[in-house]
Symmetry: T
Subunit: 143 residues, 12 copies
Amino acid sequence: MKKILVIHGPNLDLLGQREPKIYGKTTLIQINQELKKIAKKKNVSLTIKQSNHEGEIVDLIGTAKKKYEALLINPAAYTHTSVAIRDAIAASGILTVEVHLSNIYSREEFRQKSLISPVAKGTILGFGGKSYNLGLLALLDLI
Amino acid sequence: MKKILVIHGPNLDLLGQREPKIYGKTTLIQINQELKKIAKKKNVSLTIKQSNHEGEIVDLIGTAKKKYEALLINPAAYTHTSVAIRDAIAASGILTVEVHLSNIYSREEFRQKSLISPVAKGTILGFGGKSYNLGLLALLDLI
Amino acid sequence: MKKILVIHGPNLDLLGQREPKIYGKTTLIQINQELKKIAKKKNVSLTIKQSNHEGEIVDLIGTAKKKYEALLINPAAYTHTSVAIRDAIAASGILTVEVHLSNIYSREEFRQKSLISPVAKGTILGFGGKSYNLGLLALLDLI
Amino acid sequence: MKKILVIHGPNLDLLGQREPKIYGKTTLIQINQELKKIAKKKNVSLTIKQSNHEGEIVDLIGTAKKKYEALLINPAAYTHTSVAIRDAIAASGILTVEVHLSNIYSREEFRQKSLISPVAKGTILGFGGKSYNLGLLALLDLI
Amino acid sequence: MKKILVIHGPNLDLLGQREPKIYGKTTLIQINQELKKIAKKKNVSLTIKQSNHEGEIVDLIGTAKKKYEALLINPAAYTHTSVAIRDAIAASGILTVEVHLSNIYSREEFRQKSLISPVAKGTILGFGGKSYNLGLLALLDLI
Amino acid sequence: MKKILVIHGPNLDLLGQREPKIYGKTTLIQINQELKKIAKKKNVSLTIKQSNHEGEIVDLIGTAKKKYEALLINPAAYTHTSVAIRDAIAASGILTVEVHLSNIYSREEFRQKSLISPVAKGTILGFGGKSYNLGLLALLDLI
Amino acid sequence: MKKILVIHGPNLDLLGQREPKIYGKTTLIQINQELKKIAKKKNVSLTIKQSNHEGEIVDLIGTAKKKYEALLINPAAYTHTSVAIRDAIAASGILTVEVHLSNIYSREEFRQKSLISPVAKGTILGFGGKSYNLGLLALLDLI
Amino acid sequence: MKKILVIHGPNLDLLGQREPKIYGKTTLIQINQELKKIAKKKNVSLTIKQSNHEGEIVDLIGTAKKKYEALLINPAAYTHTSVAIRDAIAASGILTVEVHLSNIYSREEFRQKSLISPVAKGTILGFGGKSYNLGLLALLDLI
Amino acid sequence: MKKILVIHGPNLDLLGQREPKIYGKTTLIQINQELKKIAKKKNVSLTIKQSNHEGEIVDLIGTAKKKYEALLINPAAYTHTSVAIRDAIAASGILTVEVHLSNIYSREEFRQKSLISPVAKGTILGFGGKSYNLGLLALLDLI
Amino acid sequence: MKKILVIHGPNLDLLGQREPKIYGKTTLIQINQELKKIAKKKNVSLTIKQSNHEGEIVDLIGTAKKKYEALLINPAAYTHTSVAIRDAIAASGILTVEVHLSNIYSREEFRQKSLISPVAKGTILGFGGKSYNLGLLALLDLI
Amino acid sequence: MKKILVIHGPNLDLLGQREPKIYGKTTLIQINQELKKIAKKKNVSLTIKQSNHEGEIVDLIGTAKKKYEALLINPAAYTHTSVAIRDAIAASGILTVEVHLSNIYSREEFRQKSLISPVAKGTILGFGGKSYNLGLLALLDLI
Amino acid sequence: MKKILVIHGPNLDLLGQREPKIYGKTTLIQINQELKKIAKKKNVSLTIKQSNHEGEIVDLIGTAKKKYEALLINPAAYTHTSVAIRDAIAASGILTVEVHLSNIYSREEFRQKSLISPVAKGTILGFGGKSYNLGLLALLDLI
């Protein structure tokens, strides 16, 4: 049974209450339930982590290659500032899909650049919680 | 039965022969066949157009709202240069998903900006021909 | 009887339905009727074209000098991207007035530059459909 | 009888003698006479001021809303440097039309930005002294 | 009894009526009354000036060192454009606190730079009329 | 009794010994004592944290809304680099005042931009340890 | 007998009458005659097209590889704005030489960048109509 | 007897007391005395003005051509911000020499651009009060 | 016996497996062994830490001055993004040498800026694992 | 018999051995032989110089007008850095054609600007050693 | 008797024939004669050099401090590109005045920056050959 | 016996007297002596050159590959301006280590870019004269 690591970046634990005009009312629990439903149907196993700590996320990715087939990540705020997470993905060499709830390219200028995109296989953005579902489908298709 | 317009931008007719290292070996015909298969399963009707002419694409989008529920578009080279296509999408108000075969954000700098993203509901990029499939699934989920 | 060419650029056929908060509710037909009324009163003849095709607009301007005294143009989206239309105006040497419905200098940054202004005699912007009327009056005063 | 305030910015008192290749040979007196002729025909009253002092122009605009229906302004050199005049227009909330004798967008780069345009209803530029006439007509149409 | 000079920059005389969404409904008179109340309690004397003229503000500051212990200034629009006021503060050597009603760093880009901050002891911004009160308290603490 | 959270960002534990020409000789313990004195007088309760970890600060803020009325934060080095802390403040929706010991706008260019200011109610900078006192007074006035 | 495609970009049909100070008095017919004379002598066949339409030029290049050995192109205004033509040359993989009548690198800044140069084998610019002759000689030498 | 206008820009009345490390200890009175001594020897008449008001300086220059042969100006802070003074010099057409006490090109970046230099005949900078003497000698040589 | 702190930044635990074309095949264990060999020979004691956490590295440096004579650091990804580590080095005042395995100035543009260099005594880059050896020799020479 | 000066800039003596992927395997001797063959056929005389010294090249060009009809130059590395060579060409007024072996506009960014192009009659680039032949033909056609 | 070194930078040997619209018709010999006349009157000795070689100029300046009291230099093209000459002046510590024939700040953008000004005592520009005379007078006044 | 070429760039002959705060008091002779001592111990032969002439340095490097194993270079001022030296190193293909006395990345902005680093194997900077020693050790380790 294939194993996939899902990482939710900083502040995603606040989903649902956080600026709902931008991020919608779906909570992280609901997103995770939908992901698990898909995983069950497709017969893969998911390990899901949320962290506000850049270093923790780097730790997780650095050792991910040995335990998981692929990585589904929403780097959230670290999308725009973390060279360390980018390097972790490149260093581990794990197959990665990047997702975003909102359309980062129509927001503030400092959000219109992803340090992660160049090391991800593909990116899905703007579909709210559905971005994760599409990302998981894409990953399953790739592995 | 719901109708969806699919637009392939400039040079996509050359897919398969065009710089296969970047764009893969899948041809446009194969992509269209996959899309039609999904459409059939999901019981929607697709109208598929390819054009190298910015003006033609603007014409198509301008009148699309009356005939179609949604637009799936790979604007290709016009992604980076066409304010007219952007304005057409905004003016027609049609629900739009943008797809790209390659990860435009890891290519030349002039390709790292999409004029279309801010007027699209969401964007999917980097999955080769699969980007279209994911885009169609996303659209169907939205309408 | 003097002849004047009026060119409406891309997406202006959608006026009235297109983002009315920015462009107002006046339709292109109404704008043209107002222009014809003025033309009649001032005893000049108008030829009015709308096109979404940059190449078509270049074709029209390239041969305009032989048939028309002057050109009234709203280049719309091509204002910001078309060196070809700019070159056509300079090459044909026709007396040109540029108009815009909205105040392009208080919108997105990519709209705050006009490639056309430097080859136009003058520019009128921000008065909605009235920009055309003022533009026609200005042209008549100049010829 | 409606009242309109006309403000001529710095150095416009020198018109006619000032770099005639750029600004033409018309004097400010002639421009004012033309404006008064139009005003008389349209039955409005004009108050016309010229000042080289940014602070004086800010003073005039700050209290203009109580005395005038609208403002016709050629901010001249202050177009490019005065946040204070921009704020005065926004603060007073007076209906404003901005005019320029020359086409500022085909001159030196530091002149290709107007701090005033975003707070004006509309802008007219490049028609020499006629820019004022068109501006007054536009204002009368708006009030 | 210590004397403090308070300078209100351009357009602050319009407070209360000026774009209340940004600047609040408090008038300059109310702000001045609050300042005087604090001054009385703290046993200092205030001289309060409002001017729309950059030159006048430079005049005031140039001679301030001889008459006042400190300067409390809201340079308003001149914050972003006046090297002359900056030089006046540096030249006079007077202890200066800069205040702003709104948070200038979350507004238009041209407002996100203060020429005055580098020559002020400290800056307080974003608290509406209360910014002045905090500024006065800070000044009193410093002298 | 109202509760306020105070967060000291990275390296502030070194205050007093750290580059005293820029940051002064006051230690963090002294600053905290002054804050507690004010809190006692004003009858509010303070919870004070210092952390060098961006993720820890994000954790603290994410859950702060439920426990505290307001946040007083000196983000120190993270002022200029942390989108995650900015997002945490916006996501939690807690009333926030930002303080800085030094005048960041007169230092190195990379320090002249605050990612935090746009989500804070107000900012106080340049008064050394007194910036905290003023910030607490401002917060108490706001709640 | 080898076949070569020659494409003249937008406004080149106006040559001779178009800003003769920059582009010279030679007409497009004269340039074509010179090219044909050389072709005859060198025993190759030329197909010559002029188009103002970006899409038409993309169409021509997309299918050129099957019919022609090489492409001689003056992209004119599209040099600076057309990613689509650039992609067409790269996608078709046809051997390409780029020519310009004027020295684009000593003109307006927006003309000092060629999107086409990086996909052309070589570039010749500044020799007026002779640029074409040199370009044809270069192509013949290469094939 | 030839007449020359000397204008000292903002804050120059504070010379001697103002940041002596940058501007030296010479006062404006001493500079004027030296200038008058040279003028007497060379048999020309000087009119000397100091103003902190941009508008006043524009007023002076606008009418200077009729009364004076030439202008010697130290625009001080307005060097970097005043398009109005630049336009006044160009509009009046008066022969102008620009002087600076300090070497503006080795100071803060915002001082490293002179809006005045392009309309002055020549510029002298960095020699302290002696810059004026050299400027006057240069002017006398030119007229 | 002198004590030196060695800090390996994020992802350096993956050395050997991480993009070997850029970083070589040497593992962190091998690098540490070489360093210890030199230390033994030179009779100094090394404390070696690897961390992916910016905050942990700041913690380590903040207290380093009391325990160590000097710091040898490869800040890896944090080189380009961490103002906090820079401030920690400056605040602790510890003698610091910065090393990099690869030549960061010939890689992606975002890697071509070191926030750490200005607070380090010296920098050594591009020699793979040998950069550490040279760095240690340099440190020993300095203390 | 007409005389032409040919200048090869820095490092061109290393041709053939220098980065053959970029510059090809042709040596400078071979290029010179081809040039001499053409010169003989066209009955002109060539003087050929290679220099690594900017000053020497400036010396050569400064006096070239008196001895030669025209200049064929490959400024190599000095293309991007030498204002002195540019000024020498402009000062001597000699008819100049600039050639480059590689397509400088598809290489590193610092090579994508030629200081020489604006003072050359025309430029030929990207044809390897053949660029010289085409350049000589172009020169002969011009004189 | 005091000794002064005068250095004329590249291409100044061509003065009089070089672009006379910009540089005037005076030759270098005439400039030198005027300088010698002044030197004689002021009883100083001049050593005058002209060189097109950056290295030669660096050689001259490096040893100048031992032989000369001061340096009068027109760095010409090297003004904008030579860090080496700048470093030579700073390294030798010789008192230096920089002169330019033309007003470099009203010419091409790449000429609007002087690497030399920050290490010169003062700069004189725009007075043609007279710039040298004024520069020599300034130097004599300083030593 | 292996031979190594050492090149000292412009102004390094002045070491010891040149701005000692930045470059230290060590003279070039002392640096060379230290280098020779190391060379003797390691049994390699050094050829040491100092030159202020960019062209001379290019000459030296162009032929170095035939005579030397490796190059140790401090390009000094040419670090930031010489594409020619960069090209010479790349063209000759000689193994190169770049050293700097000072930390160029904490000085003026124009010194914060090295054209040489991308073609050097590694770079050592900031250790004063010791940078050379470390560079030589690094070279010996590499060959």
